[in-house]
Amino acid sequence: MGPRGGGARLGNADIEPALRFSGVVHRYRSVVALDHLDLEVARGETLALLGPNGAGKSTAISILLGLQRPQQGAVSVLGTDPRSAMASGRVGAMVQVGGGSGLPHGVRIGDLVAMTSRLYRRPSPVDRTLERAGLTGLADRQTQRLSGGQAQRVRFALAIVGDPELVFLDEPTVAMDVEGRRTFWAMMRGFAQEGRTVVFATHHLDEVDAVADRIVVMRRGTVVANGPASTIKAAVPTRRVRFASPGADPVRLRELDGVDAATVHGSEVVLDSLDADATVKSLIASGVAFSDIEVTGADLEQAFVALTGDLADAHTVDDAVALPVSDAHTGMDL
C-alpha cells in the first residue's frame, strides 16, 4: 500500500489540521492540568511536545487519544473527535507502559502484529511493517524473549501497522541504547516523510533537535514556546563560553560578569552566561590565562531549562531506571 495521509487525498477533512486544541481546560480536583491550551498541528508535520513532569503533557496526550474527554474547550483530531479518529483506525499510538514490555506474553511477534493489523480497516502488510520497525529477523521470536529496545520497536510496529495518518509516540526511545535510538529515529523519519503527521514526547532533547520540524514546550498546562528548534534556542539569552585554562578556579570564574554556571573539567572550562560580551570582557580583565575561546548559542537543553525553569524534571526518574547509567549520560551528550 502506498503512502497515505496529508498530500495523498484531498477530501474536506484534509483541510482541517491533523490536531487542534482550542481553549482546553482540564482539572484534577484543585490541580489545573491544562489551562486554556491552544495547539494546532498541520498535516505532515513532525512535532515534539516537551515539558517538565506536571506540565500537562500526559493529560493533553490522553485527551488527543480519546482516553479522556476535555472538561472545557474543543479538541479535533483529523477533522473529527478523538474517539472517532481512534476508532476509525486513522490514528496510531505508542503509549507509555510503565515498567512492563507493553506486550502480552507467549506470542510470536509476527502473530501479534498480524492480529493487531486486523483491528484496522486498511492495514499495511505485516511483512512491510516488520521491516519498517527493524523486526524482520524477529518475526518468530516470542514476546517475552525481547530486550527493552526490541519491545519498543514491536510497539512502534503496532502503532504503524494500521497505516495511520497521525502517529503519536510517547517517550518512544526510553528503553533504547544510543544506537537503538539513532536507528529508531531514522525509521520514524522515513515514516513521517510519507506525508504522515507525527507527534512525539521525549525527554531526550538531543533527539528533538534532530527530528522535529517544530517544538512545542508546555509548562503549567499551557504553551510557553512554539517554533522550530532554532527559534526556540535563539529566544533564550543563555550563551555558552568555552575555553582552555589549566588550573582555573571555578569559584572565581563564577564571579565573572553575566556567568550563571561554571564547570571545569581538567583544563577545559565551560561557562553558561546570560551576557557573553560582559563575561568575555571581565574574563580578560580578571587576568586569568586562557586559550581557544569559543562562544556558542544555547543548546536545546539550556533553552528548555530557561523556558521551564526546571532542570531536575528535564530527565525523569523513569529514564534513570530504564537505562544503564552510562546510556542515560551519553544519551544526553550526543
Binding site: L67, G89, V95, L103, L119
Partner: protein, 249 residues
C-alpha cells in the same frame, strides 16, 4: 471475520499453545478423575447415579472453573502489569471489546475442556449415558461456566501481577472443596453444607449431577448461577470503568 473475531481467535490460540495452562486446566481434572475413580464401590449409589459418573461431572465442572479462572485472572492481571491493556486501548478495538473477548475466550476454552473430562469418563471410567444426556450435560455444564468466566476477569482486574496467581489458586481450592467437587456435599459436615449452598461451584455441578441422574436441572441452581453471572458481570463492568479512568490519568 471482524477485528474482535480475530482478537478472540488470537487469544484462544495463545491459551491452547500454553503448555502450563493446558496442563493445569485439563491435566489436573483428568488426573484427579483417574486417581479418585475407584474411591467408592462400583455399585454404590450417590445422588441417583454411580460414583464414576457423579465424579466425572464434578471434575468437568472443576475443569471449566479452573480453565476460566486461569484464563481470566492470572493472564489478565499479567497483561495489565505489562501495559498491554494500555497499548490495546489505543487501537480501534472498542474499550468493551477487551473484556468481552476475555470472557468469550474462557467460554470457548471451557467447551473442549469439559468434553475432554467427559471423554475420560467414557473411556477410562466406563461412564455410560445416552447421546441426549451427553449432549444436555455438556451444554448445561458449559453454559453454567459463565459466572466463572466473569469471576476470572474480575480477579484479573482486582489483583496485581503478583497477587493474581495465589488468589486464583485460593479460589480454585475454596470453590472446589467447599462446593463439594471432591467430597460430595452430603459427606461434608453440616456447617460446610450450608456454605456450599452459597457457592456457584456447588450449583454448577448440581445441574450436571441432576442431568446424569435423569432429573431435570433445578431452577434454584440455575437461578443462583444466573444471579452470580449478573453480579459478577456488573462488578467486572464497574472495575473496567475504574481501570479506564485510572489508566491514563
Amino acid at each position: 471475520m471482524t477485528g474482535l473475531g480475530h482478537y478472540l481467535r488470537f487469544e484462544v490460540l495463545r491459551l491452547v499453545r500454553n503448555v502450563r495452562y493446558v496442563g493445569i486446566s485439563v491435566g489436573f481434572p483428568v488426573v484427579f478423575y483417574v486417581l479418585f475413580l475407584n474411591n467408592e464401590h462400583p455399585t454404590a449409589r450417590i445422588a441417583g447415579t454411580n460414583w464414576k459418573t457423579y465424579f466425572m461431572v464434578s471434575m468437568a465442572s472443576f475443569a471449566a472453573m479452573v480453565a476460566s479462572l486461569n484464563a481470566g485472572g492470572t493472564r489478565l492481571a499479567a497483561e495489565r502489569a505489562s501495559g498491554w491493556t494500555r497499548q490495546l486501548r489505543v487501537t480501534p478495538l472498542p474499550a468493551w471489546g477487551y473484556v468481552t473477548t476475555k470472557i468469550a475466550t474462557s467460554m470457548v476454552i471451557a467447551l473442549p475442556v469439559i468434553s475432554l473430562v467427559e471423554l475420560t469418563g467414557l473411556l477410562l471410567g466406563g461412564v455410560r449415558l445416552g447421546p441426549v444426556t451427553w449432549a444436555v450435560l455438556t451444554v448445561v455444564l458449559w453454559v453454567s461456566a459463565l459466572p466463572f468466566a466473569a469471576l476470572g476477569v474480575l480477579v484479573g482486574f482486582v489483583a496485581s501481577g503478583e497477587t493474581a496467581y495465589p488468589l486464583v489458586t485460593a479460589l480454585m481450592f475454596l470453590l472446589s472443596f467447599f462446593g463439594g467437587l471432591f467430597t460430595p456435599v452430603t459427606d461434608l459436615p453440616t456447617v460446610l453444607r450450608h456454605v456450599a449452598a452459597y457457592l456457584p461451584s456447588y450449583h454448577d455441578a448440581s445441574l450436571g449431577w441432576a442431568v446424569v441422574a435423569g432429573r431435570a436441572p433445578g431452577a434454584d441452581h440455575a437461578g443462583v448461577l444466573l444471579g452470580y453471572a449478573v453480579l459478577l458481570g456488573l462488578a467486572v463492568t464497574w472495575r473496567h470503568r475504574v481501570e479506564e479512568s485510572r489508566a491514563f490519568a
